[in-house]
């Protein structure tokens, strides 16, 4: 059963989603099913990361069809790490949901949709087939639309439509790119593509394919100038849903970009490198500027997702092994911190009754514990040493100085400064300031504080002892950047030529 390890993070949520839907009439049982499923999934993902830690790359073909014909799953260090961190986040979200979820939302199908989202996310991280990746994106899209419109309010439907239009556009682009790629190479298996593409004559179709992948995943990841769907939709969803979206959805787009542009296309040759650099800088700047004028906590945080995506893209723009390692570190740090900030926003809402900073306040006195728990991810996001964000920023900025992209480093540092401004705005308004209507803050239930604290502890642990994660990121970036390793995992070391038309 050892080699089936990489299947469980997908089929466990599948079974859980099915059971939760079948138990439609029993909300309490659904909750147990969802929690059990996520605990098991998290456990399975830990086994997976343990199995690939030494550098082994696990592969598994579905239905016994051999690659490049069958659909394969593949797990290396990068994908295993993503599965672990997203399963952990999903588990935290479910615990948080125990305190925040309303009956009505459960009846709208929260648990099946949530587990359905996890099928899609983990599937996207583990698949080794580019068309299969498209399928997982669709699974995510369907679950996401259901989760946004959980309360069926006008605002949510408005947000869902904005989300759907742009994301459908993105998936169609993705599908067309896959079609073009198949036309040019005759294969869709990623490892096989990595063999075939270097032997294929450069053509307009391939350049177009690369651009379409960049645009399609760019919309998913929330790049400048295609990011506007994100702040328009994320804040309408309920806070648990927003937190999971903030942590995971854009990162799946980023993950797909990293895979495609390390394995299939080179960033280094041609016009791609300056283009990605400009996109990264624009994403960082516009995200942080957008956040500066907002008053809704959720909107501020949504814009910060975008600016942080810019930092991660910086890693791809510089494209040295050091920069890729920085990006891996940054993704892991970002998922933990950003989801945590959304959880804190949920707690602020519970305590003060509003997401609007102008209408909240007085939390410093009412709930000092929450203040501390907010300070950890907020300072980490801004990159204050010795928290995890400092090391993440340090790695990408250092890599861009070494990779002769000093202007990107300068942008990154400037944006870091503005991030502090945004975080201190939340701090001053929600925590320091007296409540405008002198209302006493309501207590926040313990089940909401536990996940916030757990993620906070992870942030602190990474911050005070970054060495293991830095080493891990270096190894992950190394196996990501070296395509022969992945090809070797499929073809047992010998390079069989792929199926060329």
């Amino acid at each position: 059963m050892f080699d089936t390890l990489l299947l469980w993070p997908v089929i466990l949520p599948l079974a859980g989603a099915a059971l939760a839907a079948a138990l439609h009439a029993f909300p309490a049982v659904q909750r147990q099913v969802a929690l059990t499923t996520m605990v098991l999934t998290f456990g399975a993902s830990l086994f997976l990361v343990d199995a690939v830690m030494e550098g082994a790359i696990l592969t598994k073909a579905f239905g016994g069809w051999m690659p490049p014909f069958g659909i394969v799953f593949v797990a290396d260090r990068f994908s295993a790490a993503m599965v672990v961190i997203s399963s952990l986040l999903a588990l935290c979200a479910l615990v948080f949901a125990m305190g925040d979820l309303r009956q009505r939302q459960v009846r709208s199908g929260f648990y099946p949709l949530f587990l359905g989202l996890m099928i899609g996310v983990n599937g996207a991280f583990l698949t080794g087939d580019i068309f299969n990746l498209y399928v997982w994106f669709e699974v995510m899209l369907i679950a996401t639309l259901g989760l946004i419109t959980l309360d069926r309010t006008r605002a949510q439907i408005d947000g869902a439509i904005k989300y759907a239009v742009l994301n459908l556009f993105s998936t169609i682009l993705f599908l067309m790119a896959v079609g073009l790629l198949y036309g040019a190479t005759g294969t869709l298996n990623m490892a096989d593509l990595a063999v075939v593409l270097p032997q294929t004559e450069p053509s307009a179709a391939l350049t177009l394919t690369a651009m379409m992948f960049l645009l399609a995943f760019g919309i998913k990841a929330g790049f400048f100038p295609m990011f506007f769907w994100l702040p328009a939709s994320y804040h309408t969803a309920s806070i648990i849903v927003s937190a999971v979206f903030a942590g995971l959805l854009t990162k799946v787009g980023v993950y797909a970009l990293f895979r495609v542009f390390t394995l299939l296309f080179e960033v280094d040759n041609g016009t791609l490198k300056p283009l990605i650099a400009v996109i990264a800088a624009g994403t960082m700047l516009f995200g942080v500027f957008g956040a500066a004028i907002q008053w809704d906590v959720r909107r501020i945080l949504s814009f910060h997702i975008i600016s942080q995506i810019g930092y991660i893209m910086l890693g791809l723009a510089v494209a040295t092994p050091l920069a890729l390692a920085g990006a891996v570190f940054y993704i892991i740090h970002h998922i933990v911190v950003k989801a945590n900030l959304f959880f804190v926003a949920g707690a602020i809402h519970r305590a003060t009754g509003s997401f609007d900073l102008r209408k909240s306040g007085g939390l410093m006195k009412a709930s000092p514990l929450l203040a501390v728990l907010f300070a950890i991810p907020a300072l980490s996001l801004a990159g204050i040493p010795p928290l995890s964000g400092f090391w993440a920023k340090f790695m990408v900025v250092d890599a861009s100085f070494q990779g002769e992209a000093a202007w990107l480093a300068a942008v990154a540092l400037f944006v870091g400064l503005l991030t502090i401004f945004s975080m201190s705005k939340i701090w001053i308004e929600a925590f320091w300031k007296e409540h405008p209507r002198a209302v006493r803050a309501r207590p926040v239930p313990a089940v909401m504080l536990v996940p916030i604290a757990a993620l906070g502890i992870i942030t602190l642990a990474i911050g005070f002892n970054p060495e293991p994660l830095v080493a891990f990121s270096n190894l992950a970036a190394e196996s990501m950047g070296d395509r022969t390793q992945l090809i070797g995992a499929f073809y047992g070391g010998e390079h069989t030529a792929g199926v060329t038309p």
Binding site: A15, A21, G64
Partner: protein
């Protein structure tokens, strides 16, 4: 609704359900299968909802459409498990010869798809018709 439409719809309801099950099993080796069969069956219930009322169609379905989705998905999941034991791959199906009939766990997967499609389509259709009735 007219009496003729209402009476005929009962007849067609049964006919379409029979056709849907025929389609489901025909899909084993020929065009057809769980998805098309599921659409047939969903259409039968949708017809009932249109001719009579959504409440009557819901009653005929017995379970909530979402429950049907869940059960179907779980059935499909179960059909993938045997493969894990034989060659360690999810969704590798088991086959057996029983006389002249060819049996396989793939049929269970197809029945799962059948149920998911009925549930999925009806969850949508019932909601729409209820909106119209209001």
């Amino acid at each position: 609704m007219s009496v003729i439409f209402s009476t005929m719809s009962r007849l067609f309801f049964v006919l379409m359900l029979v056709a849907s099950i025929y389609m489901l099993f025909r899909g084993h080796n020929e065009p057809g299968g769980g998805f098309i069969g599921g659409l047939f069956a969903a259409l039968a219930f949708a017809l009932l909802a249109l001719a009579d009322s959504v409440a009557a169609a819901r009653k005929a379905l017995i379970v909530h459409p979402v429950v049907l989705i869940g059960c179907g998905l779980f059935l499909a999941f179960l059909s993938g498990l045997p493969g894990l034991f034989s060659d360690g791959s999810f969704l590798t199906h088991w086959w057996a010869e029983l006389g002249s009939t060819h049996l396989g766990t793939a049929t269970i997967f197809d029945i799962g798809v059948f149920m998911v499609v009925i549930g999925g389509v009806l969850a949508l259709v019932f909601r729409f018709y209820e909106g119209v009735e209001q």
